[in-house]
Symmetry: C2
Subunit: 369 residues, 2 copies
C-alpha cells in the first residue's frame, strides 16, 4: 500500500508513521526512503550503532556518508540538510517521490528547486496502522490493564474521602483532596506498571465542563469529576485510553440526568460498532440519543478515535469517519459539557470485530462512589 | 522580530513555538495568525472555553465559525482544513504569509493553489525562545532541582548496591539491579516533584557506548553507567537536563582515562562559554581536548544544545553553532563512546552570562560511587 517511492524525514519520537515503518525510535530527525523494494535509513552518525541493532531496515547510511559537516560549515544548517537529502535521492536515481502531508514545506521547496517532483499524499502508513496485528492488540491490552489499575486507584481514593464544608477530604492527610494529588496517585500506578503518561485529566466542577481541562485544586462534593487516563507502555510504545466520571454526595438532578444520557449515548454507539459500519454512523448513533434527550448542543466533540502508537489516530469516529475494519482499536467516548452544571464523559476502548466489538474496558460505570 | 504576516498550524503539545507564542496548550491542531498588530487564534469549537481562559490571544475564532462540519461532509477532511484556513486568510485580507520551515507541505500546496504566496522562513520564534526571561530561568531552575533530586536518588541507589558474580545487587530486594529499576526510582522522584519525563537513560556497559540507548537489564561492576535525566515541569512546561556517569568496583584504566578526558573536555568547554562566543567555538574547545588526548573519533555528537520548552532547542553547541547571548540556557555535555570499553558523558546545565556562565548543576562529578 505504501507508494513505490516514499520519503519521510522526522523524529520517530513524534512521528509514529516513521516509528511503525522503521521500528527505530530516535529523538532527532532521520530519513526513511522506500524506493521500489529497497528501504533506506539515513541517520546521524551517533545513531548508527543503535539503528543497526534496533531498526528493521538493513540499508543504513549516515549523514556523515554524505559529508554533512562540510556542508554545514559551508552552507549552514538548513541547506546542508536538503543537500544531503538531494544527494541521496540522486544516488538512488529517484527523480520524483511521494511524501506525507506533514512533510516540511521548506525541505520540499528546496528539493523542488533541485528538480525533484515532490507529491504530498495522505499517509498510506497511517491507514496500515489503523488495523492492528494480534501482537499490537496484545500490547494495547497490556497498556489498558495498567490504565484500569490507575483508574481504580483514583476511584478508590475518591471513594474513601471524607467531606468537610463541601470539599472532599483526603483520608490519609486529612487535607482537602486536590486534582493534582489524584493525578499523582494515577501516575505512580502507571510508572510502576511500566507506563508513562502525559496530560492525565482529573477535572472536577467547572473544570470538567471543558473537555481538555486537566483540572486543578480542591475537588468538591455533589460535582462531577472527570478522570481521563491515556498511558503509553514505555517499551512497546502503545497507548490505552479510558474515561470515567464519578461524584461523591448528592449530585443535582440535572447532572445525574446528563450522566444517564451520556451512558445511553455510549451504549447506543457501542451497539452499532462492527466491521463495515462507518465512524460517522457510530457518531450518529451517539448524536441521535443526545438529540432525543435535548442535549445535542452540549456534545461538542467527536465520539471517538483510533488508539495505537498515537493516542489519537485513525479511524475517526465522527463526521467524515471512515468505514470500520476488524482490528481497529477505537474509543467510544461521548460527553456532555455544561459550563454551569459541569461535564460528563464515559470512554471505553474496544477492538472492532466482524460482528461487533471486544470491549477492553472492565471497570464499572456507576456515577456515585 | 516575528514577520508581520506569520502563520502556524500545529498542535502546541508538539510545537513549542506555537505554545510559546500563544501560551495555549492543546493536543489537537489549531491555527495562529499574526497579521500586522493583530493576532488571531482559530481552535476547534470544543477548545473555545479553554482557549479564552488560557491563551494570551484575545481574538479567538473556531473552525465552526467557518462551517468546518459542512466542509468536512462535502469535501473530506484534508480539503476542509485548507478551505477553512483559506477563508480565514481571505477574510483578513492576507494574500501572502510567512510560515515556519516545518509547515505541512500539503497545506502549503493547497493554499498556493488558492493563490496565496506561502514563504517558509526559519522560525523567528525559535530565536526569541533561545534567550530566556528571568521567569523562564526560574522555571528551568525549578525543573533542574527536581532533576538533581532524581539523579541523587539514582546515584544513592547504585552506591548502596552489593556485588555478586560481577553484578550489582539491589540492597532492598537482594536481586540484581537492572537499569529499569533505577529508571523507576528516578521517575517516581520526578513525579513527586511535579515533573514528567520520557526517555530517561540508565545505560551500563555496552549500552552506554550508544549515546541514545536507554539501557536495559542487569548493571555490572567495573563498567560505566551513564545516567541522563531530562524532566519537564508539568505545569510550567520547562525542561532541565543533566548527565552523570558512575561506576562501582574497579573500572579499567582505559575507562578511567576516558572519564578524565571527558571531564577535561567539559571543563574546557565550560571555560569558554560567555556572551559573544559561538556555539561552534565552545564545541571546538571540547574537541581540542579530545584531539590532544587521542580520542577525537570517539566523540560523535555535538557538545550541547539549548534547553527550554524543548529539551533540544537553540542555540546549537556544535558545528555551525550560533553566537551565544546572555540568557541562553545550554547544556555542556561532551562524551566518549567506545563499543568495547563503554561510554562516558558528563552534562551540566548553565545559563550564559556576559562574563561566563551560571552553572545550575550542583551534583559532584566523581566517577566511582
Amino acid at each position: 500500500m505504501t507508494p513505490i517511492l516514499f520519503l519521510m524525514i522526522d523524529s520517530s519520537v513524534h512521528n509514529q508513521d516513521l516509528y511503525y515503518t522503521t521500528r527505530f525510535l530516535a529523538p532527532d530527525q532521520f530519513l526513511y526512503l522506500r524506493s521500489g523494494d529497497e528501504e533506506i535509513l539515513m541517520v546521524p552518525e551517533m545513531e548508527l550503532g543503535r539503528a543497526r541493532k534496533e531498526s528493521r531496515i538493513s540499508d543504513i547510511r549516515t549523514t556523515a556518508d554524505y559529508r554533512v559537516i562540510e556542508k554545514l560549515k559551508q552552507y549552514g544548517r538548513d541547506h546542508a540538510q536538503s543537500m544531503v537529502v538531494s544527494e541521496l535521492l540522486h544516488d538512488e536515481g529517484v527523480t520524483e517521490v511521494a511524501v506525507p502531508h506533514n512533510f516540511p514545506v521548506f525541505l520540499a521547496d528546496e528539493l523542488r528547486s533541485d528538480g525533484f517532483k515532490i507529491t504530498p499524499v495522505r499517509s498510506p502508513i497511517r491507514k496500515l496502522r489503523s488495523v492492528k496485528t494480534r501482537e499490537e492488540i496484545e500490547w494495547i491490552k497490556k497498556s489498558q490493564i495498567c490504565c484500569e489499575a490507575a483508574m481504580q486507584s483514583a476511584i478508590d481514593l475518591i471513594r474513601r474521602t471524607g467531606i468537610r464544608r463541601g470539599v472532599l477530604i483526603d483520608p490519609g492527610s486529612d487535607q482537602p483532596l486536590a486534582s493534582e494529588h489524584v493525578r499523582t496517585v494515577i501516575e505512580r500506578t502507571l510508572i510502576d506498571c511500566g507506563c508513562e503518561s502525559e496530560g492525565t485529566i482529573v477535572a472536577g466542577g467547572k473544570d470538567a465542563a471543558d473537555p481538555h481541562n486537566a483540572g486543578r485544586g480542591e475537588l468538591r462534593v455533589d460535582k462531577s469529576i472527570v478522570i481521563d487516563i491515556f498511558p503509553r507502555l514505555k517499551m512497546e510504545r502503545y497507548y490505552a485510553d479510558m474515561t470515567r466520571t464519578v461524584a461523591r454526595g448528592s449530585p443535582s438532578q440535572a447532572l445525574s440526568e446528563m450522566y444517564d444520557a451520556v451512558l445511553d449515548a455510549q451504549t447506543a454507539a457501542l451497539g452499532v460498532v462492527r466491521t463495515g459500519v462507518s465512524g460517522e454512523e457510530v457518531h450518529d448513533a451517539a448524536c441521535g440519543v443526545f438529540e432525543d434527550a435535548g442535549y445535542r448542543e452540549l456534545f461538542i466533540h467527536s465520539t471517538g478515535h483510533g488508539v495505537g502508537l498515537d493516542v489519537h489516530e485513525e479511524p475517526h469516529i465522527g463526521v467524515g469517519g471512515e468505514m470500520l475494519k476488524a482490528g481497529n482499536v477505537i474509543t467510544i467516548e461521548p460527553g456532555l459539557y455544561d459550563p454551569e452544571i459541569g461535564g460528563i464523559r464515559i470512554e471505553d476502548l474496544v477492538v472492532v470485530t466482524k460482528s461487533g466489538c471486544e470491549n477492553l474496558t472492565t471497570i464499572g460505570k456507576g456515577f456515585l462512589v
